[in-house]
């Protein structure tokens, strides 16, 4: 990747790649194979570009690249710092796997409008990468809106009245939030005349000219703006959005979109307000309380769900608030845990979603109560699911363990024992709602004969010694099984080698910038 693009142009090329891919996809809409190879090629190139930046950032500090002047004191500029790279690496690496998976999923379900699907997907990635790399709030806002708008057709993909109304809900929450985000940006700009991210915060000079109350209100504007983080009570778009095709739910509603929300909150807390100001304004406590409330309530919702994807949605809400609570503790270890959890939760949750999608696409089942005996019919899928579920809970040797460990240490570090308790209760509840799935799949008995809806209408003899291996029935299914196996394996690798893709080093570096040390 050297040679053609110098170091300083890499942020730009990372942003341009998805755009180019998107238009290549549009142009080749009549040739599915070509179209999907563009997606795959683009995702691989994007990942290479993004990950090629991490050694440089680790060695020499942030890569800055200014494109043009947007507004006085505000440039359209990228600033690739360690934290941004964590998010960018996560999104881009998972895009490769989800692209593979999409091919399998979309083709086996014979979905309509696949060109639109891949086009919007590439644009959504553009939004996510842009958010990760942008150097100020306005640039971030640009990509934030791109992300919202490009995912709307994906949510409404099914085009049923239900899907369209879910899409409208999605737009209403996220663009409505965008309006508050804009107010926050405007106020920040009026108060301090800049919106650049800085590891020590930029708003502290404003305290004095502006009252505490103003800054607190502005913070809540930002928080409402990041409705993508799905904290309660602005969460309800996420379960509705589960009507989207599963790869969309997997990459966007477990990683790109929702993590963009959480990423934004961390940017606001650490890079706009700064740790000291957050403490002075008492906002850490407020954020932590919101997040704690969300964790408990989302867990309770999740327990009652029979639809697997909706259950996963509530699990996502819960885990997102786990990240928020970790940030709100404002201690180095907890913030490190939060940043790590962005990546680790991404890998684990995507595994779960991919499994859910594979189950639906291959066996035609959506409700947890129908899953009896699937453990035998789809062993790889269900093993991966098991790994993901235990990762949510935070059991070693899975990635979730590392991030949760950091957060727990952070809670002790900051002496917030109440929130420590809530974190632990949350983790225990995680087990509770995953139990029915695991019990049903591995210990339940599939009824004697059953019509399986995938693509083939035929009677399948099940629950005898030779259970039919549904997963390997058609070659196209491999496109689904392999990615989910890979993410499951990564969920384990991240625990043993947390520094895969230099994630751990990057997080350490980011935390060092913010706090001056772990």
């Amino acid at each position: 990747m050297t040679g053609m693009f110098g170091i300083e142009y890499r942020p730009l090329s990372a942003v341009l790649l998805p755009i180019i891919v998107a238009f290549l996809i549009l142009l080749s809409n009549k040739r599915p194979n070509l179209r999907e190879s563009w997606t795959l090629l683009g995702s691989v190139l994007l990942f290479l570009t993004v990950s090629s930046m991490s050694p440089i950032v680790l060695a020499e500090g942030p890569i800055q690249w200014t494109w043009f002047n947007l507004l006085p004191n505000i440039d359209f500029a990228f600033n690739v710092d360690a934290f941004g790279l964590v998010f960018a690496t996560t999104s881009s690496s998972l895009w490769i796997l989800v692209s593979l998976y999409s091919i399998g999923y979309m083709r086996s379900l014979k979905e309509h409008a696949q060109t639109r699907y891949y086009f919007c997907f590439a644009l959504a990635l553009l939004g996510a990468i842009g958010i990760a790399l942008s150097s100020n709030l306005v640039t971030m806002f640009v990509f934030y809106e791109i992300l919202t708008l490009s995912t709307y057709p994906l949510v409404a993909h099914e085009e049923s009245p239900e899907a369209i109304s879910a899409g409208h809900k999605y737009l209403a929450y996220l663009l409505g939030g965008g309006v508050f985000f804009l107010i926050g940006i405007l106020m920040t700009y009026l108060l301090v005349g800049t919106t650049d991210f800085n590891a020590h915060g930029i708003l502290s000079p404003a305290l004095g000219p502006a009252s505490k109350l103003t800054l607190q209100v502005v913070f809540f504007c930002f928080l409402l703006g990041f409705a993508k983080a799905a904290w309660m009570p602005v969460h309800s778009w996420l379960p509705s959005a589960m009507i989207a095709p599963t790869p969309v739910s997997a990459l966007l509603h477990a990683v790109a979109v929702v993590k963009a929300g959480v990423f934004g909150v961390i940017r606001i807390v650490c890079y706009i307000y700064g740790i000291d100001l957050m403490q002075e304004l008492g906002l850490g406590l407020a954020l932590a309380s919101i997040a704690a409330f969300t964790i408990v309530v989302a867990n309770l919702y999740a327990i009652g769900q029979d639809n697997l994807k909706r259950m996963l949605a509530y699990s996502t809400i819960n885990q997102l608030s786990f990240i928020l609570i970790a940030v709100a503790l404002l201690s180095p270890m907890a913030v490190a845990g939060a940043m790590l959890h962005i990546t680790f939760h991404g890998f684990m949750k995507i595994t779960l979603f991919l499994c859910a999608g594979a189950i639906t696409a291959i066996s035609g089942k959506k409700a947890i109560s129908e899953f009896k005996g699937l453990g035998r019919a789809m062993p790889i899928t269900m093993t991966a699911f098991l790994i993901g579920a235990f990762g949510m809970f935070g059991a070693p040797p899975l990635a979730g363990f590392i991030s949760k460990w950091h957060v727990v240490l952070g809670a002790v570090q900051s002496g917030q024992l109440v929130f420590l308790t809530i974190i632990l209760i949350g983790s225990i509840l995680d087990v509770v709602y995953f139990c029915p799935v695991i019990i049903n799949t591995f210990f339940g008995k599939m009824p004697e004969t059953e019509t399986l809806k995938g693509d083939l209408e035929e009677k399948v003899e099940v629950y005898s010694e030779k259970v039919e291996r549904l997963e390997t029935k058609r070659p196209i299914y491999y496109f689904m099984i392999i990615p989910l196996a890979i993410t499951a394996v990564f969920s384990i690798i991240f625990c043993i080698l947390p520094n895969t893709f230099s994630i751990y080093d990057l997080v350490q570096m980011a935390v060092k910038d913010i706090f001056g040390g772990m």
């Binding site: 014979k110 309509h112 060109t115 306005v138 057709p153 049923s160 369209i164 804009l182």
Partner: protein, 503 residues
């Protein structure tokens, strides 16, 4: 400044004026020539406006004395940064409008080429005259030139256009008469009609009631012409039934030019100390702006016709600009002036889409937009960009003017305006989501998974939308994006100086 540059100014108005006389004569024999002659004339206008703008940017304001008579006796064209900017907007949009008109005229108005283009050119002449002139009464004359030609152009439209145009004519004439009346009052006490001269003479007379009456009449007259809520009633009908090419040009320009007149009157002819501080006309205006924004948005939501929806969006957009003018601080005014450009661009863009859909589907109801993303992907892309600009999504220009308007609103602590802007943003989302859904989702009920075949029905149909329609549309969406990306260049070089001193 050398005299050559001065002559360029008058060329801007004279080129379309002469062409409007030649075109019908030529049209007698060679209909084809009308179109190219019109384009040529407007192109000359466009170039001269660009050169004038360049001169103004480099050397400051320029003048041209008609017939060599110097003011205060003669009529002068006085061009500073503000009207140089507006003149470029007018000529640019007209240029695109003329290119776009080709198919529309050929199909819907056969054998009327001569008349149509003659009126079209007169309209452009009138609009440019309003923008350039430095004389209050001359402005009235140009205003009537523009209005009369627009009445006639609108009347050429589909069924219902006649009556709409007639109503517009009655209301418009009353508005123009009031403007003239207001000018008369100013003339009684000052004895002058020249804007620069008036602004020197008036401050001594600010206590006079005559001045106040004159000011009020001018504002009401212009308010009718620019369809400021609650004086907007004529607009939706007139622009809905007009031919596509006409509404694509009149709708963005007429109202914007009238807003220019308001800015001129409030901040140049009268000084801010009178309009802002003494009688607080601006603060009243800003609240009318707020009402216009909310009313326009709500009415737009209840429309089933795309063009009519756009008309109500225009009512709302006028509210944006008037509100920005009413807030009367430098930031908001910068936003308002910049929004004149952006709004003109995005409205022309959306009316182009309406024209394309009208051309293909013979209707402009929202239901006619069903499936346009497949059948007319180009139109769909253009629609999307235009819609994003109206909503104010960066990096389109709409975002940046909204940014300045909001910033100005917060600075002035005019919360009503700020809230109205934000609400209208959300309303716009809802408006366009409706059209977008119609255009994009054709499968319905999720049952019709008719696989890949539906994916590829585009392609050959793209060519069916004629070149003369989509070339201007593509230029417009590029302009919308460039206006956003290079907003600083535009603001720093020209708009910034267009903001009247004393704010």
């Amino acid at each position: 400044m050398n005299p050559g540059q001065n002559d360029i100014i008058i060329l801007m108005v004279v080129a379309p004026l002469f062409a409007s006389i030649i075109v019908p004569i030529v049209g007698w024999r060679a209909k084809k020539l009308c179109y190219s002659l019109t384009i040529l004339a407007v192109l000359i206008s466009l170039f001269s406006s660009l050169i004038t703008a360049k001169t103004v940017m480099n050397h400051g304001p320029v003048q041209y004395y008609l017939g060599g008579w110097k003011p205060p006796w003669g009529i002068e064209f006085y061009i500073d940064h503000l009207n140089a900017f507006i003149a470029v907007v007018v000529t640019f949009i007209s240029f695109l409008g003329v290119i776009f008109s080709k198919t529309n005229v050929e199909n819907d108005l056969p054998n009327k080429e001569g008349a149509f283009y003659s009126l079209f050119l007169l309209l452009i002449t009138g609009l440019l005259g309003i923008v350039l002139t430095g004389d209050m009464f001359n402005l009235f004359v140009f205003l009537e030139v523009a209005s009369l030609s627009s009445y006639a152009l609108i009347a050429m439209g589909e069924k219902g256009a006649m009556y709409a145009s007639f109503r517009y004519l009655l209301i418009g004439t009353v508005g123009a008469s009031w403007y003239m009346l207001g000018v008369g009052y100013l003339y009684i006490v000052t004895g002058s009609l020249n804007m620069a001269n008036l602004s020197e003479l008036l401050p001594a007379l600010y206590q006079s009631k005559t001045i106040l009456v004159g000011f009020a009449f001018i504002l009401f007259g212009v308010g009718i012409k620019m369809a400021l809520f609650p004086l907007h009633a004529w607009l939706p009908d007139a622009y809905t039934y007009a031919p596509s090419a006409v509404s694509a040009m009149v709708a963005p320009l007429m109202t914007k030019v009238m807003i220019y007149v308001v800015i001129r009157v409030i901040f140049t002819v009268f000084q801010p100390e009178f309009t802002v501080d003494m009688i607080q006309a601006t603060s009243i205006l800003s609240w009318f702006g707020v009402l216009a924004i909310l009313f326009g948005g709500i009415m737009a939501l209840s429309q089933t016709d795309f063009k009519r929806m756009l008309c109500y969006i225009i009512v709302g957009e006028i509210g944006y600009i008037v509100g920005g003018v009413g807030i009367a601080n430098a930031t908001a005014l910068k936003g308002a002036i910049f929004h004149i450009l952006n709004d003109a661009l995005m409205m022309v863009c959306l009316f182009f889409v309406a024209g394309m859909v009208m051309y293909r589907k013979k209707g402009h109801r929202i239901s006619d937009f069903k499936g346009i993303f497949r059948e007319m992907p180009f139109a769909a892309i253009i629609f999307t960009v235009g819609a994003l600009a109206v909503i104010g999504v960066p990096p389109t220009g709409g975002f940046f003017s909204k940014w300045y308007l909001l910033l100005g609103g917060i600075e002035a602590k005019h919360w009503g305006f700020v809230v109205a802007l934000l609400i209208s943003t959300l309303i716009n989302v809802a408006l366009f989501a409706r059209v977008f859904d119609k255009g994009l989702y054709v499968h319905g009920h999720g049952s019709d998974h008719s696989s890949e075949s539906t994916d590829h029905s585009s392609g050959t149909l793209v060519q069916k939308t004629p070149l003369s329609m989509w070339i201007p549309a593509v230029i417009v969406i590029l302009a919308i994006l460039l206006a956003g990306i290079f907003n600083q260049a535009i603001l720093k070089n020209i708009v910034q100086f267009a903001v009247p001193s004393g704010l």
